[in-house]
């Protein structure tokens, strides 16, 4: 059994051009060194029934022994406000905010603090192990604490505050439920003896949603809070509960109040990683590990579901104790990609313990793109990096109740999965839920991604390399371009190519990416879509940080978590998220077919339809028997139509010129329609009774000589190599590619 996790790493940037530097950040808890080899990936799927792992070794100075060290990952988001004179005061003070705790019984957690764990000094307002609000002060060897009488309730908004009256030597903790009825009222207060003299610890950051474990401007943090925090306020003096509540309630505190030390307004700069203080002291802070912004605040009333229309209703941040955006590892290897290297899927292979019973072979993936405007081929294959990020470190099969029923069989876990079960600090995917049950809406590449690399889970990355393998096998040259480039540069990234292939599951698209493909196709570009469930979800990319995406799942679509009410707009861009079908651009309009069903029981062949005999597509079916099944073989379920499948639907935009060439519409009871395909609930919706549960193959010409060919099935790519690549799936794909690279227009279609 090969150990794929004894050393892990990530490459930054994830996508580089020839001539640019890529930096590898590595870590191992057990190995002192490994043998590094840089490889160009041809096939990343280790299944011996297929092509197996296949690489090219270009040879480079990086190849050789690399010394390893252990670099821990520290998850958990928070806001850090560096020490400032306004925070260095003694005497009475008051601190308060609204919170919506999402895991109050998960362990002690800090809401707001000026505290350092190493010396145990400072103050903090937090929840104790029983979910009770506590206000704690410590210093000069003494310890003061006030604890609220009743615990807070999970996912209920509550006002919380702590006050020190130094003159009286008294401290108070207070809470007030925002919906104090029907068993939801946990309001109350408690007071205890407090210090008459209390000096705040110097050089210690103020932290929101955690506390510092050490001094300094960028301390490590602990005690991370799970839940929303809205409108934190810090005052000099001991305010009474009503005054403190009023300070939190107001959306626009008067900055000139001399006793107002800080008032953070999280509705400002929602697309950034900064939090702003609207008091006169300007105690702005920085967010760590990308907590969720653009979430409803305590005052959200449903008058809008779009944060850009009323940001003042979105003054909360949802912090998670397991948020992970940047592992922050130091670099171990640097490499400048030679200018003459081919673009491609690349990986750094790390081997150790070779020859033992437990050899180590771990990969760190990166991509070398063809530089913008400098194509080396007429064909480009798209690295679906947005989709790879969306699925990065998916724990769906580990955590989710539905996984085994959906996948129709006992779940088979790789060694990577076994590792992920124990190492949640890697950060999960946008398919997963945080430890508090809320959905992951962000994913970044600044962390090891164990299912985007050779030997990893085959879905997406591994399946896509079957197309690369086929291109290599058939001697077809190609460039690699990545989703990131298509988002950043738009149609320019596609324009130099006569033909562009998208892979097995290009599911996640920003508006800029959709528009790039649309413009490319309208401008004479030719697009071969060899997958299923593509062009499905609407995402945003972080405005500043590369290789970081956001998705809001909303309440429609095949979603593994449901978005909260009012939280379906992207914090990065302000745009709506959810399905492209719900955003006016159903996939059928772009590529002729769109997602309709899953089928994991087995995969099926297609049957040819009459349009396949249309002389205008004779080039496509050359050498194929139109009376025989198409693709009654394959590495995924024994057929070319399976896993996730798409269908033609004119009412959703499949174009009038589309030729519906083949269909697999007998998908049995395992063919389960996606949620947005059902208007009402009724029996008879599964594939054994429902002809709309199917995979379709379609062709249509676009303007200026462009065209689209779609196969509508994730399983397609993994049928290409069967029978030594001599098969109907390979033949049809090859026929279409050859014709799509031929600039001759597609005749016989009226204008």
């Amino acid at each position: 059994m090969t150990d794929t996790t004894a050393v892990l790493g990530y490459a930054w940037p994830l996508v580089v051009s020839p001539g640019e530097e890529v930096v590898f950040h590595l870590s191992s808890a057990t190995l002192e060194r490994a043998e590094a080899t840089l490889l160009r990936v041809r096939c990343a799927d280790p299944d011996p029934s297929g092509p197996g792992l296949r690489f090219e070794q270009p040879g480079c100075p990086l190849d050789g022994s690399v010394t390893l060290r252990h670099q821990p990952i520290r998850p958990g988001s928070c806001a850090v406000v560096p020490d400032a004179p306004a925070l260095n005061r003694s005497g009475s003070f008051s601190v308060a905010c609204y919170i919506l705790p999402t895991a109050p019984l998960a362990g002690p957690q800090t809401i707001i603090s000026r505290w350092r764990d190493d010396t145990g000094e400072g103050w903090r307002l937090g929840l104790d192990a029983k979910g009770r609000l506590e206000f704690v002060l410590r210093g000069q060897g003494r310890h003061w604490r006030a604890t609220a009488p009743r615990p807070v309730i999970e996912r209920e908004w509550i006002f919380v505050g702590g006050m020190l009256d130094a003159a009286a030597g008294w401290m108070t903790v207070v809470q007030a439920s925002l919906d104090p009825q029907a068993g939801r009222d946990t309001s109350g207060a408690a007071s205890a003896e407090g210090p008459r003299e209390f000096g705040w610890p110097g050089e210690t950051a103020l932290v929101i949603a955690a506390h510092a474990v050490e001094a300094g401007e960028a301390p490590r943090t602990a005690g991370h809070f799970d839940g929303k925090i809205d409108r934190p306020r810090l005052h000099a003096g001991a305010l009474d509960a009503a005054s403190l509540r009023a300070s939190v309630e107001t959306l626009a505190p008067v900055p000139s109040q001399p006793d107002l030390i800080a008032a953070w307004d999280f509705s400002m700069g929602i697309s950034t990683d900064r939090v702003q203080d609207v008091s006169a002291n300007r105690l702005d802070g920085v967010l760590r590990q990308l907590p969720m912004r653009a979430v409803t605040g305590a005052n959200w009333d449903g008058r809008t579901v779009q944060w850009t229309e009323a940001p003042e209703l979105y003054g909360a941040i949802h912090f998670h104790s397991d948020d992970m955006n940047d592992a922050g590892w130091s670099p171990d290897l640097r490499f400048t990609v030679p200018p003459d290297w081919r673009s491609g899927f690349y990986a750094l292979r790390l081997r150790a313990r070779e020859g033992s019973d437990d050899p180590v072979e771990s990969f760190v993936a990166f991509f070398v793109r063809a530089p913008l405007g400098k194509p080396r081929s007429k064909l480009a294959f798209v690295a679906s990096t947005a989709t790879f990020l969306a699925y990065a470190n998916s724990a769906l099969r580990l955590d989710q109740v539905h996984a085994e029923a959906m996948l129709e069989g006992v779940i088979a876990l790789s060694r990577d999965d076994v590792y992920l079960q124990e190492h949640r600090e890697l950060g999960l995917s946008t398919y997963d839920t945080h430890s508090d049950g809320s959905g992951w809406c962000y994913s970044s590449a600044k962390r090891p991604i164990i299912n985007m690399r050779p030997r990893g889970a085959t879905f997406n990355y591994g399946n896509d390399t079957h197309i690369i393998d086929w291109l290599e096998q058939t001697g077809q040259d190609y460039d690699i371009i990545a989703d990131h480039d298509i988002h950043r540069h738009g149609a320019q990234a596609l324009a130099p190519y006569a033909c562009v292939i998208t892979g097995s599951h290009p599911e996640y698209f920003s508006r800029q990416m959709i528009e790039a493909f649309d413009a490319y196709q309208r401008g004479g570009g030719r697009h071969i879509y060899l997958g299923g469930n593509g062009f499905y979800w609407r995402i945003g990319w972080h405005p500043e940080q590369p290789h970081t995406i956001e998705i809001r799942r909303g309440m429609n679509g095949l979603r593994t978590w449901e978005g909260e009410a009012g939280e379906n707009a992207l914090s990065f861009t302000g745009e709506p998220s959810g399905l492209w079908r719900s955003n006016g651009r159903p996939p059928q309009r772009l590529v002729g077919v769109g997602f309709d069903a899953q089928v994991f029981t087995r995969s099926y062949p297609y049957r040819w339809l009459d349009a396949a005999r249309d002389p205008r597509v004779a080039w496509a079916v050359e050498g194929l028997d139109l009376d025989a099944p198409l693709g009654d073989f394959g590495l995924r379920g024994g057929g070319a139509a399976g896993l996730e499948v798409d269908r033609v639907e004119p009412t959703l935009g499949s174009p009038p010129h589309l030729l519906w060439l083949a269909t697999a519409d007998q998908l049995g009871y395992g063919g389960v329609p996606t949620l947005e395909e059902l208007r009402t609930l009724h029996r008879g919706a599964m594939g054994d009774q429902n002809a709309r549960v199917r995979a379709d193959i379609a062709f249509f010409p676009t303007s200026r000589g462009g065209a689209v060919f779609s196969t509508g099935s994730i399983a397609w790519a993994c049928a290409l190599s069967c029978a030594a690549y001599e098969n109907s799936v390979s033949r049809l794909t090859g026929n279409v590619l050859r014709r799509f690279l031929d600039p001759a227009p597609f005749d016989g279609f009226d204008a």
């Binding site: 029934s49 006992v410 088979a412 430890s435 049950g437 395992g670």
Partner: protein, 115 residues
């Protein structure tokens, strides 16, 4: 917040329906009759007790039985004495364990229960 309830699958399992056992034994990967589909859903939705899984020892060739700990972050329990070279046999082994958990009855040709 919409969550899936692991206890939601409640189709009643009849310990006398050995015909369904026989059908599954013959064709672990299906297609299955309506009644067997319901039995499998009952078994798979909750996992019946802690969820049995397979751990890949060699891709698409060799698998070891494992069991999820039921909590994030804890290690997966492994059963090194229960190794399969055929997915259908692995499906059958898990089916038999779950049948016993649901009905209290041990199937004749089931593997020994992992300790």
């Amino acid at each position: 917040m919409l969550v899936n309830d692991p206890e939601a699958a409640h189709w009643p399992v009849d310990p006398g329906r050995l015909d369904l056992v026989k059908e599954f034994r013959a064709k672990p990967r299906g297609p299955h009759s309506d009644e067997l589909q319901k039995l499998l859903h009952r078994m798979r939705w909750s996992g019946v007790g802690r969820r049995y899984v397979l751990i890949v020892l060699e891709p698409n060739r060799r698998w070891m039985l494992g069991r999820m700990p039921g909590k994030r972050g804890l290690p997966i329990e492994t059963f090194p004495n229960h190794v399969f070279t055929d997915l259908a046999e692995a499906e059958w082994a898990v089916f038999a364990l779950r049948w016993e958990a649901l009905t209290g009855q041990r199937l004749e040709d089931a593997e020994s229960k992992p300790e």
